[in-house]
């Protein structure tokens, strides 16, 4: 670590006025990777748009992985007394399915939209801390890789190449996505739990870093005139989601740290024989876990609130009320966690209070639904693919909402707890809610991101097949739950009467998978063959549609000045006073941040740290030292990052075209 660089003293330069090229060397004397191309450009980029696209690619990859896990689960349950996979593998499949879908598919796909859209929608050059943003992406990848490497070690174990000393052959996480104590204790589960602990810890760092960045960006980087109550609703929902992340992730991080201390260093947080209380895990997990539900759905609500007005040719009905409801949902989200624990015997007062608050949280959600319907009311509705998916969202999300309210009544919940009814409920909310709206968002904004317009009408088929598949899979599960089928059951006996509906569910799951496959086909086909989309293919309302498609690296040639909500709509159709203005461009050009290797470098340390800590539990020699080495990589990376200086170079918009 060279703290004392011997460069000649210059004034600390953010830029060299008059020159357009990057200061080619950083303060460390290393060549900055600016203006690089190909894979090197993607690895070192600090551009929020490229980072957003990478989030989307990784998220879609993990969506496929989680989907394959789900299909194996459904194939196993298709007929009674089936033995397609062993019970042990089945536990691993549902654990990894849940963990993958929540943390590695839906959250990063939402992150992809945050990254790509927020700076464009608020009229900013980039996020507040571009290198921190790159660090968040690579740290997310590191955490995701740590969790999923467990599959490779499981395979190595099956081949006889790798045997953990703790005697467990269970190497993929298998204690469920909410990892209840004491099942995760070292007496009951193997190093799969360690992969899960360290992977989630690393993912938590990534999520918190990204969220801090977005809050600062939204608060401080708005274009002139972009007051808080003029922000697009998606930006508002990003802000609320980010606030939820920074408050919800610390409790799970502490819970995971406590579990790690129990497993690795002999602490007693969850060891019953030493006075530990497994209920503590449930509280800490759900204090995180319930806000997490809103972390998954609020971005979806933001996307829907952007799409509906565009295709209804009307402003969003009750803009302020939608934002206020979002904030109330976020706030109440921290006050309802114990409704996941009604059957644990909390006592009448606590149960009644959490029951009441859970019913209360349905109110702002209902307000949003009515506002969306109000937006459609009397509008000139155009049934484009994003619109069809958005309408599907409203309907399907409401279905999930209704069964959600049923859970708020504690006596009813006691009957539904851990049954397939719950599985039906949260898949309606997560697929019917989050995934449908994320698909809608991709159909809506892909022309902006790639500059290519969708080819043909396959998108309508995608919407139809996904929605039919979703209902075919999960609607029968309500009844399965009601007639007693428990969740997470490896198989079931022939005489239970669960057989026919399970078969329908399985067929539905494959229909859903075909829908997702058609979507991916449509995506690839459009990226390859799509015709140029133009700047504003849908008749958009917000600032991102004023930029070129795909937007230039600097976003806006001149920073816009905003005079109303729905700035572009007012610009196109409103009176002259509401036209979008522009800040006079700097004659030196637009200042761009330098690219850097160090965010990636620092994140690599987490990969080494997580992997070696998990393997240390398996008794692999020297792993403790390698873990310390991993931590050193991160620390050194952060120092080099700090000491290379911010750098930066100037781009002249006319040249860049």
């Amino acid at each position: 670590m060279s703290l004392t660089t011997t460069h000649p003293s210059t004034t600390e330069t953010v830029a060299h006025p008059g020159t357009d090229d990057a200061p080619a060397r950083s303060h460390l004397g290393l060549k900055r990777p600016d203006h690089s191309t190909g894979w090197k450009d993607w690895l070192t980029t600090v551009d929020h748009k490229k980072i957003g696209i990478m989030y989307a690619i990784f998220a879609l990859g993990f969506l496929i992985m989680g989907g394959i896990e789900a299909l194996v689960i459904r194939a196993q349950l298709a007929v009674s007394e089936n033995n397609l996979v062993s019970a042990e593998t089945y536990n691993q499949l549902f654990t990894m399915h849940g963990t993958t879908m929540v943390f590695l598919a839906v959250m990063p796909l939402s992150s992809a939209f945050f990254n790509f859209l927020v700076p464009l929608q608020i009229g900013a050059r980039d996020v507040a801390f571009p290198r921190l943003n790159a660090f968040s992406l690579w740290t997310f990848v590191a955490g995701a890789v740590v969790i999923n490497l467990s599959w490779l070690f499981q395979a190595a174990n099956a081949l006889g190449w790798f045997t953990p000393v703790d005697g467990f052959t269970d190497i993929v996480p298998s204690a469920g996505w909410f990892g209840y104590a004491p099942l995760t204790g070292d007496q009951y589960s193997g190093i799969g739990t360690d992969f899960w602990i360290y992977g989630l810890q690393v993912l938590g760092i990534a999520s918190i870093a990204a969220s801090l960045n977005f809050i600062v960006t939204i608060i401080n980087f708005r274009a002139p005139g972009m007051k808080m109550m003029r922000l697009p609703v998606f930006v508002w929902m990003t802000l609320i989601t980010s606030i939820l992340v920074i408050f919800a992730f610390p409790p799970i991080t502490v819970a995971l740290a406590e579990l790690m201390f129990d497993r690795t260093f002999g602490a007693n947080f969850f060891r019953v024989e030493q006075g530990g209380q497994p209920i503590l895990w449930q509280h800490l997990f759900w204090v995180f876990g319930h806000p997490e539900v809103y972390i998954l759905i609020l971005p979806a609500m933001g996307i829907i609130s952007e799409i509906l007005p565009v295709f209804s040719r009307k402003p969003l009905f009750g803009y302020s009320l939608i934002i206020f409801s979002g904030a109330v949902i976020g706030f109440l989200g921290f006050a309802v966690w114990s409704h996941h624990m009604f059957t644990t015997g909390l006592g009448k007062v606590a149960t009644a209070a959490f029951s009441l608050l859970t019913m209360a949280i349905a109110v702002p959600t209902g307000v949003k639904i009515f506002n969306w319907i109000g937006t459609l009311w009397g509008g000139k509705i155009k049934f484009s693919v994003p619109m069809v998916l958005s309408l599907g969202f409203i309907w399907m999300f409401m279905m999930g909402g209704f069964s959600g309210i049923m859970h708020s009544a504690a006596p009813a919940d006691a009957q539904q707890q851990d049954s397939y009814f719950v599985v039906a409920h949260f898949h309606y909310v997560l697929i019917g809610g989050s995934i449908l709206s994320l698909l809608a968002g991709i159909y809506f904004w892909l022309p902006k991101a790639t500059g290519k317009m969708w080819v043909g009408k396959l998108g309508y088929w995608v919407s139809g097949v996904v929605i039919v598949g979703l209902n075919l899979t999960f609607f029968p599960m309500h009844f399965l739950g009601m007639i007693g089928m428990p969740r997470r059951t490896h198989t079931y006996l022939e005489g239970t009467g669960w057989q026919p509906m399970n078969l329908v569910c399985t067929i539905g799951a494959f229909v859903l998978a075909i829908g997702i496959f058609m979507f991916l086909w449509d995506l690839v086909r459009t990226i390859k063959k799509g015709k140029p989309a133009g700047n504003d293919p849908w008749g958009g309302r917000t600032l991102e549609w004023t930029t070129s498609s795909p937007p230039a690296s600097y976003n806006f040639a001149e920073t816009p000045i905003v005079h109303s909500r729905d700035a572009l709509w007012a610009h196109k159709h409103g009176n002259a006073a509401l036209r979008i203005g522009s800040v006079k461009a700097d004659p030196h050009g637009i200042h761009m941040p330098s690219q850097s290797w160090f965010p990636l470098f620092a994140s690599t340390g987490f990969l080494v740290l997580g992997l070696s800590m998990a393997l240390k539990q398996a008794g692999v020699p020297y792993c403790g030292y390698i873990a310390i080495g991993g931590l050193c990589i991160t620390v050194v990376g952060i120092y080099l990052w700090a000491l290379e200086g911010p750098g930066g170079y100037h781009v002249k918009p006319e040249e860049a075209k």
């Binding site: 003293s9 801090l212 819970a255 800490l284 203005g581 200086g645």
Partner: protein
């Protein structure tokens, strides 16, 4: 207000007027409150609700030592405030001396904690595996100690950097102030821990 071209606004205007580095630190500290909140809650829940904690804290604690080290940590915050004030005024010599004060007092506090941990383990037999009390106590105070240690490393980095040619008091004042926010926060957390974990045992 003319709308087509409005050059009165600088391109780098900040709506809140609050520096982004300071803002992100405030937000991080808000998040960190939840970390410590969870750790302290875990400790208090196990300590106060469940009987079976395995040890008697009053027999273990050395309240005189902890009071002294708490005072030292609080005084380090005074030096930190003086260091921030000095760098805002461009007085680099005063900034360095005060920073050295913070670092020494921070190290004294850490030394006190190391001594305390060592004493607890060797004389009182309180380890990480001693009931739930050992677990919650060491994880919570240990996390705080790591925060102090990271703060010290951060401030030592600034001390060394202040001797390099790139150091510019005017430009780096806000960075030092950001480090100061962190340092004060870690002190405040200790006041909560000292009260809710140590003093409460003597009530």
């Amino acid at each position: 207000m003319s709308h087509a071209q409005d050059s009165s606004l600088p391109a780098d205007h900040i709506p809140t007027g609050l520096d982004s580095k300071k803002l992100i630190m405030w937000l991080f500290l808000a998040s960190d409150c939840m970390f410590f909140g969870t750790l302290i809650t875990t400790h208090l829940v196990y300590r106060k609700i469940y009987e079976n904690i395995g040890v008697d804290p009053i027999q273990i604690f050395d309240i005189e030592l902890t009071t002294a080290s708490s005072f030292i940590l609080l005084m380090s915050s005074l030096f930190m405030a003086l260091a921030v004030s000095a760098i805002h005024k461009g007085n680099v010599a005063s900034f360095r001396w005060n920073l050295i004060g913070v670092i020494i007092f921070g190290l004294l506090f850490l030394a006190g904690q190391v001594y305390e941990f060592h004493h607890f383990v060797t004389h009182s037999g309180l380890t990480l595996s001693s009931g739930t009390f050992g677990s919650t106590f060491y994880l919570m105070t240990g996390t705080h100690g790591v925060h102090v240690a990271m703060g010290i490393v951060w401030l030592i980095s600034w001390l060394i950097y202040s001797f390099t040619a790139r150091f510019n008091a005017h430009q780096h004042a806000v960075d030092v102030e950001t480090a100061g926010l962190y340092w004060h926060f870690v002190d405040i957390i200790w006041i909560v821990i000292f009260t809710a974990v140590y003093l409460i045992e003597y009530v």
